[in-house]
């Protein structure tokens, strides 16, 4: 996988897109079988919606595969080049991570998206989808495996797992699997993180904040606080807690409450908030809760320091925004809030691979090690050091022999 040319990988992607199209009827029929079983099993409606994979969803998935062809190959990029001595050159070159283990709930589009992201980045992949979508996933995986191996990918580069026992076995293979990517509910991701020694790329929670500073432009603050909560409350980058500086609380809170009331947002405030606007009381548990719904906790704080402390204590290191016209305060907030994404005068909802222009999103990571925030294809590669010499040995550079390193930065690509 790691030595595949960009051409072979792109041809395989084109072949997958073509074969998914050719197998449209088979795929849709398998999905109908899954949907019927789910309805018979009285699975809840929101899950059935995510399970659905009709012609239009297939077209979207195929368009996603085709768009991957346009993206630059993340493998084989020279990240740095240095002459250590004449005829001894060191290159840092991107390469695939190796074997990915990917586990996702219900949505069959995830199978298509993630297997093709793995392909483009030269990684082998083990995939396990939700059991509700077993028929759909099986057909999709069969098509992808068959058309990609026909197009020149090595046998066994992708395997489709079907049982929970398989997943359990996979999570224990720390010597053979390099990265686990879970997609699903917070509880699901947390379970995966707590049950493997393999590094996990993802986030278990998105407890995001907007802090309205004493120097905020309150028109901007109202727009941002409304968008961050209401534009898509189920998203991980939606705001869960609104922090308001005491100097502007009396003016700002009634204005934003009027907006939230129209949208049907349930408000839960601390004591100081409840002296200004009417709402339910917030407990400490609220500061730690990702509602993923039209519910918002509100706290009045003394200043930016208290806001930063609150966010670093109760947040999930995902995305947090400040609204202020004071650049020094913004700098302090962006510097000290310990989150993957820190925003000045913009909505937390911008935290997303597509909006960031990453081309394709592998996931959003709250890890500090490896990829952080929205992760594109570059999150599926690592690097190796390639040293190219002409027989050089270290003994010649010892004190006795006295050869010296030049350590000269080179402006060239790794030749092999």
């Amino acid at each position: 996988m790691s030595s595949l040319s960009t051409e072979v990988k792109n041809l395989a992607l084109a072949k997958i897109a073509e074969d998914l199209q050719a197998n449209e009827r088979k795929i849709v029929e398998a999905n109908i079988a899954d949907l019927e079983r789910a309805k018979k099993d009285r699975v809840k409606l929101s899950l059935i919606e995510r399970l659905e994979f009709d012609s239009s969803k297939l077209q979207t998935a195929i368009a996603g595969v085709m768009s991957l062809i346009q993206l630059p190959d993340p493998v084989g990029r020279t990240l740095s080049a240095m002459e250590l001595d004449t005829g001894l050159e060191l290159y840092k070159v991107s390469c695939p991570i190796g074997v990915l283990g990917i586990i996702f709930e219900s949505r069959p589009d995830a199978l298509v998206q993630i297997s093709t992201l793995a392909l483009k980045s030269g990684n082998a992949v083990l995939l396990k989808g939700g059991s509700e979508a077993a028929n759909t996933n099986r057909v999709l995986a069969d098509v992808i495996v068959e058309s990609s191996t026909k197009a020149g990918l090595p046998e066994g580069w992708m395997a489709h797992l079907e049982t929970r026992e398989d997943v359990k076995a996979m999570l224990a293979l720390e010597d053979h699997i390099d990265l686990i990517i879970p997609r699903g509910s917070n509880e699901f991701v947390k379970y995966i993180m707590n049950n493997t020694r393999i590094p996990v790329l993802g986030h278990a929670e998105g407890i995001c904040h907007v802090y309205v500073d004493s120097d905020a432009d309150l028109d901007k603050a109202v727009r941002i606080a409304f968008d961050a909560k209401c534009q898509y409350p189920a998203a991980c980058n939606a705001m869960e807690t609104l922090l308001v500086a005491e100097q502007v609380a009396r003016e700002f809170l009634p204005r934003i409450k009027a907006q939230y009331d129209k949208a049907g947002v349930e408000l839960r405030g601390d004591n100081r908030t409840r002296k200004i606007i009417e709402c339910k009381p917030a407990s400490e548990a609220d500061w730690r809760t990702e509602y993923s719904d039209l519910i918002l906790s509100i706290k009045v704080v003394r200043n930016v320091d208290e806001a930063i402390d609150h966010i670093n204590t109760f947040g999930s290191h995902h995305t947090d925004a400040i609204v202020t016209e004071n650049p020094a305060t913004a700098k302090q907030f962006l510097g000290l809030v310990d989150s993957a994404d820190v925003f000045w005068n913009s909505s937390t909802r911008f935290s997303d691979g597509f909006r960031y222009g990453l081309g394709a999103e592998v996931g959003i990571s709250t890890n500090k090690i490896h990829a952080r925030g929205p992760v594109g294809l570059e999150g599926l590669v690592t690097y190796k050091w390639k040293l190219i010499g002409h027989g050089q040995i270290v003994a010649d550079y010892s004190a006795a022999k006295g050869k010296k390193f030049t350590h000269r930065v080179l402006d060239k690509e790794c030749p092999i």
Copy 2:
């Protein structure tokens, strides 16, 4: 820590260097006490050598601190910049990882080196040294804490742990500690890796290979195979297994054996090797052993494919070299050997932060996630995404409102 200016950090480093010098007598006396206790406890000689911290070792440590001042600040570097839309700019900016937990055996120089690397990279640090060096470490830690806080570092940025219970407690603090860096024997590093959920930067083993290809220049092969084994056999980047293509084995093996015999290297060969040169038999256990000594296992292989398979099966993903004049074979080897460092016609011993020109070495990592191979200061930083807007909200970019992203790469530094 993360908001300290480069000036304050460099002033603190200068103050530490100055105060270490001023406390020379106190430090050396504490070390003498440690040495006396170790001799009384009949600690083995190699450990006593590492424990020793006399005036000349203190001078080396101080020179290391001074050289850190010259290195560029790894924090606050703009790694990428992109306009998402007019007045909405996204910056990827390097920042400290947060809290490091560092555990090392006996050598007190490690305490000075690692605490100052943490300082320069803006990380808080918990340090635990070997109990044999307790007196020396206590004096060194006291000097570093006192002079750095006087120079403006926040109270508590560094703490010195003294007991095994402290270490156990630290390894369980996965919500508060971001990275563990162990320094010591393989068994020690393996123990740490197996007893924490915190990411660990390091390597438990260095099972490195040299493969002498059928197209090798045998003069180069002899030089490289000798250097890789003999120049410093205790190093993690020394060769443990020599792989030789069958086409050149009959000519090459007697030549290299003559060299190894002079150096007193014990050879252990597979059956095909033993048909050509006299040596002890190698078992499968030899392929998995890091001797760290003048012992070498040798295997004759059919071709580069078998060499790559052997390395990926039995190696430790550290450093592996090929000797060949054939660029296509070298390309295959460097591409397919799944190790942090892959070398063409040069000795494995070059795998080292100083030789790589990294300025300072934090350690050598065989992880694939985060830093890989020799790791400099950049291994102690991560990044965050800073988005700077003027009140932009996501709703305006929805299908209904129709604003479009520009995703234009910017050539500028993050302004805050």
